[in-house]
Every structure is written in structure tokens, then in C-alpha cells.
């Protein structure tokens, strides 16, 4: 890795972060909030800006980023931005422990949505806005934003795009990476604006509408209310959010093509159909089971569907909004929800998880092996779309799934000493690695992560980053070859 160009880009990244932080401070000041809130944001912004300026002056953008540099920029950039983003939480006194604040900020950036703040009512609006904003920028990728708005990154942007964009294939929608980044962010912002308007029409205040739009399109899941979406108790809001969470879980390249009038690309996409099919299936089964279990308690078909559909969309897209306590659902449904969390959204979306496309390929490969076992002479290609996958692509996808599960296992083993029970440990690791947020038991939808000791929070913070950046980008820094010049 070449330090100078890598940290030069990171300096610019911190500059962008400082600007956004300052913006939140301004909003807070305009709202007439107590000085503690807006000064915390203003000081953090100024401090970050100072660090960015020094870093920018010490480093130079004198050579094009290599592939390894790209991984370095993304991994260290996310870490630095996360740490800078933690400052307002500490300075405002909302979160006392710096480790917990870093957990909160990185949980925001990685769009996990796991929180250590027990009660949100009473937290200053500026801080809540900043919390939502970390999710917005992390959702589509903060370095993709840098590539889109700062021309100096040039062709090196390609490396950043590769390292930050989720999904196995990293398809471009425009030949140049800067235009691709602009278009993706354009579609993203457009959907956010649309959602703000729709939520506002549903009776939410501007502030709530904006914050929830940020966190819904980013599939983040931070809310401005302790009770999350349940606090609004509105069918309209839940319906709109369900639709937009699902949209956020779909490949943004498809949205872009739809906007350009190629709507047919949407329905031809196998991953999208699998995604929506899985959602429909889980929602149907869930409604059936939940209705069966609770009809005696007076829950009708409509009510069951409302809760199940929202929860399935929320967990599958790894958003983590809650309208009810799914931890108290019939035990039969819980494994299904874990599967949904691991499955995640489509490649090229803002959702986390293993990604639908990979699971789809894995299932096809498994079916092929079984068929080959019966009929060794058969020639059975594993196709993605209409094209058969090359063996090396197939291998890398299977390798990813395997590594994901291995990291999951290691994470659980590492966390077990710090939490009271295995259910909490397991679900916390799944929820953080897949960037969902809430899990079960001790970290269930009505609980939070405040009770986990700092060591446990550090482990989970690392898992969030590893999960958001799809394993390899982060794990690469542990290779000696990465550090060689």
C-alpha cells in the first residue's frame, strides 16, 4: 500500500464528513437546541476538518491508486470516518463511553442500525440527524460519493468502487466510474427525496420524515423514536416504508435502467425475482403461522400480514426497523428470520447480508452436484441470467459464502464470553455481520446493545465493517503482501 495517495483520499473523505457534521450542527443551532448539542457537532466538525487539512497537507495525490491502495482507502477510510463520526456522541454527552460511541457511529455508517442509546426521546435533534446521516452516506457508500463529487480521484476511483460496492460482479452502469458513481447516488437521492415527501404526506413531521427516509433507503434502521416505527402506528407509513425498504434492497443499476425506460430489465433479472419471491414466500408462511398462533388473542389476517410483511422486509433488506416484537413470535418463525437476515438484499443494493445473487448461485451449484452424483456424465452449467458462470467466478462466490459463515462462527465464539447467553451472542453476530441491527433475546427489537461490555462492542464493530465491506476488502489488510510497497 502507498501511504501518501491513500491518506490523501482519506483526507478528502474526512473533509466531506466534517462538512456534513457541520451541517447537522447548523440544523441543531437553527432549531434552537441547547448549546451542548450544536457545539458538540461544531467542535467535531472543526476537529475533523483540522485533521483532514493536516493529513491533506502531509500527503500527496502523486500516483494513481493501485488495487491494494483501493482496499486501503476503503478500509481505513471507513474506520477514520467512523471514529470521526463518533465524536459528536461523546462531546454532546449522549453516549459516555468512546467505545460505545464508535460502535454507534460505525453501526450507522455500515447501515447496521444497532444502537447503544436506550431512550431516543430527549436526544437532541442535531445528534439524531447526524445519526441518520451516517446511515445515508454509508448506504450507497461514502467513497463512491467521493468518487462522484471529487474529480481528482480519476481512474483510481475504479479501485475504490471495486472495494466498496457490494455484490460479486461490480457491474458498471456507465463506462466511466465517476459517471457510474454519480448516477447511483443520483438514483439514491431521488428515492430518498420521494420517500421524504411520501412520509410527510403520511403525517410525519419534516424531521421524522427526513431521518426515516435517510435510514430506510440506506437499509440502516436508526429511528428517532425508541419504539422505532411502531411509535407512529400508521398503516400508511408502514406500507410506504415496506415498499421503499424493498426498493433499497434491489440492485440500483436496475432502478437506473428503469428510470431510463428499460423497465423490462427489472423483471428479467433473476436475482430480483428470487428476492421478491423469497420475500413473498416468507411473508405468506409468517402470516399463516402468526395468525394461527395469535388468532385466539384477537389478531386478524390483516393485522398478522401487516406485522409480518413489515418485519420480513425490514430484516431481509437488513434495515432493522421494528413495528412489533418479533422476538415474541412463535418459535417456528425465528429460524426463518435468521435465514432472511443472512440472505440479505440484491447485489448492488444498499442492503447487507450474503446477498441473494450469491445464495442463488450456491443453491444452483448444490443442485448441480446432486444431479451429477446421480448422473455423472451430465453436463450441467450453473447460470447467472442466461450465461453460464465460469468456474473461477463460481469458486469465488462459493468461497465468499463459506468465508462468511466461517467469520460468523468465529464471531460467535469470540462474543460468547461477553454476553449472558448463546442466543444473544449468535443473533448479535448475525445482526451485526449482516448489518441488520436488532437480533433476538438480549439484543432483540425492544432491547439495545448498551448492555454488552466494551470488548464485545469492539468485536461487533469489527464484524459490522467486515460485513458491510464484504469480507475481502477488510481482511486483505491482514495479509503481509498488502503492506509491501
Amino acid at each position: 500500500m502507498n501511504f501518501k495517495p491513500v491518506f490523501h483520499v482519506i483526507a478528502w473523505l474526512l473533509g466531506v464528513v466534517a462538512l456534513l457534521m457541520g451541517g447537522c450542527g447548523l440544523v441543531s443551532w437553527l432549531h434552537g437546541e441547547p448549546a451542548a448539542a450544536w457545539t458538540a457537532l461544531a467542535y467535531s466538525a472543526a476537529g475533523t476538518l483540522a485533521v483532514a487539512a493536516v493529513l491533506g497537507a502531509l500527503t500527496r495525490n502523486d500516483q494513481e491508486l493501485s488495487r491494494r491502495d483501493g482496499l486501503g482507502v476503503v478500509t481505513f477510510g471507513w474506520l477514520c470516518a467512523g471514529l470521526a463520526g463518533a465524536a459528536p456522541f461523546v462531546l454532546s454527552g449522549v453516549i459516555a463511553s468512546p467505545v460505545a460511541a464508535a460502535f454507534e457511529a460505525i453501526s450507522g455508517m455500515t447501515t447496521t442500525g444497532a444502537s447503544v442509546i436506550p431512550v431516543l426521546e430527549g436526544v437532541p435533534k442535531g445528534i439524531l440527524l447526524w445519526r441518520a446521516l451516517t446511515q445515508l452516506i454509508g448506504g450507497m457508500g461514502v467513497l463512491i460519493l467521493v468518487v462522484a463529487i471529487l474529480p481528482f480521484v480519476g481512474a483510481g476511483g475504479m479501485q475504490l468502487y471495486r472495494a466498496e460496492m457490494p455484490g460479486p460482479s461490480k457491474d458498471r452502469i456507465e463506462p466511466r466510474v465517476a459517471s457510474t458513481a454519480k448516477m447511483l447516488w443520483g438514483v439514491y437521492v431521488l428515492l430518498v427525496v420521494l420517500l421524504v415527501v411520501l412520509l410527510r404526506l403520511g403525517g410525519l413531521g419534516w424531521f421524522d420524515a427526513v431521518c426515516h427516509s435517510f435510514t430506510a433507503m440506506a437499509t440502516g434502521g436508526f429511528s428517532t423514536r425508541t419504539a422505532s416505527i411502531a411509535a407512529f402506528g400508521s398503516v400508511y407509513v408502514e406500507t410506504v416504508l415496506t415498499v421503499f425498504m424493498l426498493l433499497a434492497g434491489i440492485n440500483f443499476a436496475l432502478h437506473y435502467r428503469l428510470l431510463r425506460g428499460e423497465g423490462s430489465a427489472w423483471w428479467k433479472d433473476g436475482e430480483l425475482r428470487f428476492f421478491l419471491g423469497a420475500f413473498a414466500l416468507f411473508a405468506a408462511v409468517g402470516t399463516l403461522v402468526l395468525h394461527g398462533a395469535r388468532s385466539a388473542a384477537g389478531l386478524g389476517w390483516g393485522g398478522a400480514f401487516r406485522e409480518v410483511a413489515f418485519t420480513c422486509a425490514s430484516l431481509m433488506t437488513t434495515t432493522g426497523f421494528a413495528t412489533g416484537d418479533y422476538d415474541r413470535w412463535p418459535v417456528l418463525l425465528k429460524p426463518l428470520l435468521v435465514l432472511l437476515m443472512l440472505l440479505g438484499g440484491c447485489a448492488g443494493s444498499t442492503a447487507g447480508g450474503i446477498k441473494v445473487g450469491r445464495i442463488q448461485v450456491m443453491l444452483k451449484a448444490v443442485v448441480r452436484e446432486i444431479r451429477l452424483f446421480m448422473q455423472p456424465q451430465a453436463v450441467i452449467p450453473v447460470k447467472a441470467g442466461r450465461k453460464p458462470l465460469e468456474d473461477d467466478v463460481l469458486l469465488s462466490i462459493l468461497g465468499f459464502v463459506l468465508l462468511y459463515l466461517f467469520v460468523l462462527l468465529l464471531g460467535v465464539l469470540a462474543l460468547v464470553p461477553f454476553v449472558p447467553d448463546c442466543r444473544t451472542a449468535f443473533s448479535a453476530v448475525v445482526a451485526c455481520l449482516s448489518n441488520v441491527g436488532p437480533g433476538f433475546a438480549g439484543v432483540g427489537p425492544t432491547q439495545n446493545y448498551a448492555g454488552i461490555p466494551d470488548a464485545g462492542k469492539a468485536i461487533l464493530t469489527a464484524l459490522m465493517l467486515v460485513g458491510r465491506l464484504e469480507l475481502y476488502t477488510v481482511l486483505a489488510i491482514f495479509m503481509p503482501a498488502f503492506w509491501r510497497k
Binding site: 481512474a155 476511483g157 475504479m158 456507465e174 463506462p175 459517471s179
Partner: protein, 448 residues
Amino acid sequence: MRIVIIGGGQTGAHLAEKFCEDEHDVVVIDSSADALADVNAHLDLMTVHGNGADPATLEEADLERADMVVAVTDRDDTNILACIFARARGVGRTVARVSSSAYLTSRHIDFKRLGVDLLVNQYDEYARDLYNVLRLPGSIEVADLLDDRVMVVGMSIHMDSPLLGTTLKRFAGKEWLRKIRFTAVVRGDEVMTPHGDTTFLVGDDVYFAGEPDAIAEFMQWAWPEYKRFQRVVIAGGGELGLQLARMLEHTRMQIVLIEQDEKRADFCSAQLNRTLVIKGDALDQETLAGIGGAEDMAYVAATGSDEHNIIGCLVAEKYGARFTAAQVGKKEYIGIVNQLRLLDRIVDPRLAMVNSILHFVRGKNVQAAAILARLPGELIEMKLSPKHKWVGKAIQDLKIPDGVIVAAMLRSGQIKTATGDLELAAGDRVVVYCLPDAVERMEPLFAS
């Protein structure tokens, strides 16, 4: 501009690199995933995997949004078909590379009407390159512009050159200075646009523009030691060798073509008039000895094999050839051969294609453009429209960006030397030389 390049081999990759540098939107299609991975590793472009003449693949590359399609796979039929499909999808410009001259000589098929705007025969381009160098012994490289009526020639300043240590001012009275325009001086890594006070030093490569006769006359004076070649020996009667022999038949040089394959040798001799075709092994000194003395001989190796070509040149040099040139395709070899200075010249297969199509991406006033291998920057030929900013102004009064020099001009069929007091008029075609950084600044003038 959105440019789709079909074929990600050597030429395709080189074109992609050039276009990416100029910040065009580039899409490369190739049927080899490895070739695409190579291109994609360091260039900011999109790749599509598949056959370039397959409509589905072309659709995947969003063909209808492309402004230009350049087909440079190693199959002529694929290239032509891809262009026809591209035109059917409304692409404005299509260029196909072909290696058989049959397409270019066909009088009955109108390729433009089929949808292929430009057919480029790579061997034609290489042959022209070699022809120019053989015609002007001692020259580093030559570019033809303004319908071949103006040449830009590069020469090195030697110890006993009459230009050494002097400035152009000193030659103010000379006849040739009125017909020749100095375009650039390359000193080490630095490129300068020469003016009256520029002093010429040993090792400088000077580039000058003028009509062929004036250039020849000037070179006689400045580089008298370079005599014309008496004889050119071409090893290999493939497309390149044959084409070069054809071109050289217009000169007074004696031409010998050596071809190993009997049938091909028969074919070549039937195609050529005064060339001596010999059936034999070009690597064999005996064959060379049979031709006669090596004095003032130039040797061009154009067989299909890089290795044979390089060895052939070494053999010829040993035999006493004054000048050796080889067609070398492999990038690795080009580097080594240049480093060791084994040959006087290599035919670089990558430049030819760029030169043929560069003008398409430079703006609508630009009619031709050329890049030379050793001269950074571009030579660009543009036609002045009636509304062009330069019309009605004398060259010395033009607001020209730094690093740009007007090299030559064609007005109503007559070449004029670009002196300061020459006033430009609508319809004039001017050749400008732009340093690399200046190309971008000239863009508005190319386009408006």
C-alpha cells in the same frame, strides 16, 4: 463521446488507453475474459464479455448510445459485421480494421452504404510508415498530412550537422527556410516549440514540416551524409511485404522480395512489376549474397514471425545492411529491441490504428490527425469554417494556447508555409502541432 471498441487485443487496448486519457466513455467488447481483465485492471472503462458480432452482446454494450464503434478484432468478417450492426442501431461513426486488402480495392461494394464509414487496412498503414522512412533515409519518423502533400519529418542533430550550435535566425536569408517550418525540438524528455532563438544541440530531434520536394532539398543540405538507398530487401511476401513493394515501385530504388513459400512467391511476382521476387530463406546469408552487395541496402523483415524478423535483421546487419526494420507484434519484444537498439526501426502495430481514427474524436473541424511514436503530442489537420475564430487573422496575431504551433497550410490546392504574416481565410486547411497538455485547450477550436 461514447466509444465502443470491439476487440480488446493489442490494438484495442491501445485505443482504449488513448481514449480514456482523453476522458471519453469507453466500452470494450471481447470474447476473452482474460483480455478484458487485463484492460480493466488499469483503465477506467466498462467491459462486455462476448462475441463482437453477436447482436445480444452488442445490445449489452448499449450500442444505440454509442457515438463511435471501432472494430479491431483479428477477424475481418467480425469487424465488418459489427460495424453494419452498429449502423443499424444508429451509431454515427463506424470503423473496421481489415487485414486483407481485398476489401479496400473492391470497386463494386460500397462499404459506406453498408454502414462501414472507414476501413483501415493495418498493413497499408505499416507499409506507408516504412515507405516514408525508406524514402527519407536518416529520418526518425514521418507523418503525411494534407492529402499527403505535406510531410512532418523528424531528424537527429549530429556532431557535423550545419544546424549544430546555431539558431534559426542565422538562416534568415536561406531559400529553404521559406519553405520549411520547424515544428518541434525534442531534447531528452522535453519538447519545445522552436522559435528564432532556439539553439540546436547534439542529440536534439528536430521535427519540420513542408512539401516533399522542399523537405528533400533541405535534407540534402542539412544531412548530406544520408544517401538514398540503392536497394531495399523485403523478407516475407505477406500483406505488409507485398504492399510495401508495391509502394516502393514508384521510387527509383531496386526492390528485392524474399518469400519462402513457392505459391505465395508466384502470387507476389504476378502482382508486382519491377520487383525481383526470390524464393528462399531470408535468414540465410547465402540468399542475401545471391542478391549482390550490401552497400546502401535497406532490409525490412516482414514475415509472420517476430523471432524470424528480429534474427533476420541481425543477419542483414552483419551482412552489411545500412538500415534494418522489422515488424514486431509482441509488446515484450518491442521493449527489449528498443532498449538494446538492435534494429533501426520497428513497425509498431499499435499506432497505425490510432492515427487513422483519431480525427473522429477530435471535433468536427478536424479532418486528420497523426501521432508519432517519438514525438509527444499530436499533429492535427483542421479546416477553418467561415465562422472559425482564426479566420481573417494573421498567424502571428492568433491567440494560440502555449504549446501549439501552426505547421502548414493548404489554400485552394496550394501549400503555403505558415509564416507569421500569413492571413488565414475560411476554407483553409491548417496543420497544427499541439503538445500533450495543449490538446485539451485547443478542443474548442477543433469543435466550433
